[in-house]
Amino acid sequence: MRGRTPLLVLALATLHLMAIFAGFIAPYNPGAQNRELPYAPPTRVHFVDASGFHQRPFVYAPTFSLDSYEEDRTRELPIHLFVRGDTYTVLGILRSNLHLFRVDEPAHIFLLGSDGYGRDEFSRLLYGGQISLAAGLLATLLSLAVGTIVGTVSGYYGKWVDESLMGTAELFLSLPWFYFLIAVRAFLPLHLSPAETFLLLIGVIGLIGWARPARLVRGVVLSARSRNCVSAARGFGASDLYLLRRHILPETFGVLLTQAALLVPQYVAAEATLSFFGLGVSEPVPSWGNMLSTLQQYNVLVSYGWLLAPAGALVVTSVIYWLLADLLHSRLKSHSI
């Protein structure tokens, strides 16, 4: 188990750094359309031509003939590294126009093909990752915040407060959450700016999922409350707030961390699902969910397999976070005993 930890941390860091530096890694802007190149297959990167091996890889410009794409073999267009292109911002503060790689016009480099508007799927996948991962992480934070507050109040004050709060939690836990999610979304306005929708989505997803962390936190608080150090501190005249801050809340840290690792992939999937149904982040802003929604048409699903890429990204994200949760669970358990 221990040997795998650095690998896992590396994978986790790579995933998030790729999303953060999407602008740098992606050759194009996510909204840049090439209407003459719809559903172009992934561009092939060549090293070898008639004159032999080249150190600098190159691509051919795609041409559309009859009903399929072919490579225009007359001109070789080398791939340039670290070139200037469209401007982008990193985390909304750093402006730049430096890109990791690009090719000269008229060729395009579509590492994962293009979608129906001729937008680069690879660039959209990276930018979509920003939206999807941010939605998952922020909604998780919201859930944990609400869950911690409710769980602490419930566990610390007990009696009827505890019973009513945990009763509500049970209600939320036993709901078919997806129906509920859709229903809540149904009553909120459909046509909003992408930024508003994004915040709304985080709010809805995060607020529905508070019950599980609340129950777990309550359990920890309940057992921490009756410990000797707490009773002693109370005897010395410590206030409730001091007890919670100094003695009780630190105990919940492990549970919260493990819960976070479990909730993030679920919420990323929830965002993807809602966006897939057209209830989440809307075009032209890419998210993994709304990128997948074109696959609802069977002909797209059959013919353009590269558009499944966001599904792959979802799987990778989920697996990484589940492994992390597993690791945290076993680590923190052995730590506390």
Partner: protein
């Protein structure tokens, strides 16, 4: 009996809670079904306000909720604004399909997961256990939507199983057996997605609780008496280990209902899912609330069945010694 009474009370409270939440959200929602009508110059404002009165939307929230509850007692969930027919008749047709799908998936999930859980627990650390553990971790971590899309892509590409809808053309002319085959074939894909998405969780729970029981002294004693392995596992261990697993049954019904909504939309199965999604996009208020209530009722029934099973399987509950939370 006291136990069952408490459970029934809890179920009723849950349904009231769900409906109250739904109404609360409708109140908080800006915008309504009539917003688009307002933009239509052919419809006068008077017509719209008359419609609002007709559907009771001009009343304050508590009045609306009380009226809805009153009609609920008569088995009436209000009118769909978009289809202009009673919500119940609209939902019932679709609900039967959803029930067929989730019921089959539930049965298959448990038929696969329980034996698998028992066997993996019994062969702990050996090849079977390890292989199943890897598979179930993978299944648990892959989002349901990805499973659905991946299987759909596979089905559409290879054309092994039919997709979309519930019946083929010319369904009426088929024999009873042919009709059954047709529906079963079209249900296969959706069922498979649901089973794959839920089987791993159940298997893990069964495995964990069986492992716990296997440590018990009476099992060592029984083994010492020379009772055969299979009889030991399924006759002596499983009934005792069933308690936590049965509690999971209720949750797994909720999970399957959630999952079926998603799967139905993706594979085009004519259940509650596509209807509710449409209603959501059209802001068809009572239809959405009705759909959520339907699924909540199914879930409550599922939980109640789990309680009954617990009651019959665990004598400690019958004597009131143990209250399964």
């Amino acid at each position: 009996m006291k136990y069952l009474g408490r459970r029934l009370l809890r179920a009723a409270l849950l349904l009231i809670g769900v409906s109250a939440l739904c109404f609360l959200f409708t109140e908080m929602a800006p915008g309504s079904f009539f917003d688009e009508m307002r933009l239509n110059p052919q419809i006068s404002p008077e017509t719209i306000s008359a419609l609002r009165t007709q559907y009771g939307l001009d009343r304050p929230l508590p009045v609306r909720y009380a009226r809805w509850m009153k009609s609920l007692v008569r088995g009436d969930l209000g009118y769909s604004i978009a289809y202009n027919i009673p919500v119940v008749s609209l939902l019932w047709v679709r609900a039967k399909n959803t029930l067929l799908l989730t019921g089959t998936a539930l049965l298959l999930t448990w038929l696969i997961a329980v034996p698998l859980g028992v066997l993996t627990a019994a062969s702990r650390g050996r090849l079977l256990d390890k292989a199943v553990a890897v598979g179930s971790s993978l299944l648990i971590s892959i989002p349901e939507i990805v499973i659905a899309i991946a299987l759909l892509a596979l089905a559409v590409r290879t054309r092994i199983v039919p997709v979309g809808g519930m019946r083929s053309l010319g369904f009426e002319e088929l024999s009873k057996w042919g009709q059954f085959q047709d529906v079963a074939g079209r249900m296969l894909l959706s069922t498979l997605v649901l089973v794959l998405a839920s089987v791993a969780v159940v298997e893990r729970h069964v495995r964990a609780s069986v492992l716990e029981v296997l440590e018990a002294p009476y099992i060592h004693a029984a083994r010492g008496l020379g009772i055969s392995r299979m009889r030991l596992l399924f006759r002596h261990v499983l009934p005792v280990a069933a308690n936590p697993a049965i509690s999971l049954f209720g949750f797994s019904v909720a999970g399957l209902l959630s999952g079926s909504l998603l799967v139905e939309v993706v594979t085009g199965w004519p259940g509650l899912g596509p209807l509710i999604l449409e209603a959501t996009l059209a802001r068809d208020l009572y239809l959405v609330i009705g759909g959520v209530m339907f699924s909540a009722v199914f879930m409550v029934v599922g939980n109640f069945v789990a309680d009954l099973l617990l009651l019959s399987s665990d004598p400690r509950i019958r004597t009131g010694e143990l209250d399964a939370g």
